[in-house]
Symmetry: C2
Amino acid sequence: MGTSPVFPADCPSRTVLEVLANKWALYVLAALRNRPCRFNELRRILQGVTQKMLSQTLRALERDGLIRREVYPTAPLRVEYSLTDLGVGAGKLTSAIGDWSKQHAREILAARGEYDQRADAAPHPVQSVGRYQA
Amino acid sequence: MGTSPVFPADCPSRTVLEVLANKWALYVLAALRNRPCRFNELRRILQGVTQKMLSQTLRALERDGLIRREVYPTAPLRVEYSLTDLGVGAGKLTSAIGDWSKQHAREILAARGEYDQRADAAPHPVQSVGRYQA
DNA sequence: CTGGATCCGAGACGATACTG
DNA sequence: CAGTATCGTCTCGGATCCAG
């Protein structure tokens, strides 16, 4: 099984995974874990997202049954997004990734810096097997 | 705190997260959890990836210190990719997402089907001008 | 306030050819 | 085998305007 496909191309889980493999989807799920949110609320919480991407992301997540969209026909109209049971499960996982990212951001950024530096100083392809640990 | 940003825009963890928020990165990490792999080996295992995207993904992951690239200057040349300690940690998380996807693929696909059907039969909201994937 | 529609540039991505 | 280089396509994503 070592050489068999990890996720066969025709595997339905791929299409699922590809919805999650999106930074805004990750952020949305993380944000909604706290509590239901309205559209512009999410926009503020997810700094940097454009209306279009947020809209797209929300629709995609709703389509897959991860979030629920509820419209309250009140005066200025009110739309609230919240996690479904399915979304709660997904949110745990995506939040775990977020936590991990925060936790290891420093070392990863350091590795990134080293790599870039090494790349600069290597006009010829780097091919030493031993990692020359600076 | 409910309204505060989940991942502030200037937060370094965003750049980390965005490397993981990529389907091929997820697949690569999942694949390498089993054992180290060579380039074309990965290509076969990750069905559907082009050499370009695989190459890009591997370099990005290497840059962030999640995978290690070792070159053995043997006869037909041999390059092996493996997880670093950091990559092992990340792999656990991404595999968890993969497992979850497989586990819930059925219900998600069902939700997707319902949603699309509903969308078809809903001339109410707005004129049926645009729906992705016509 | 919640979002859809549209235009547009930048980058993703695929296919092919070529190098070591 | 393990890539890089180049090119063309196409989708992503941002900005703006507009409607319910």
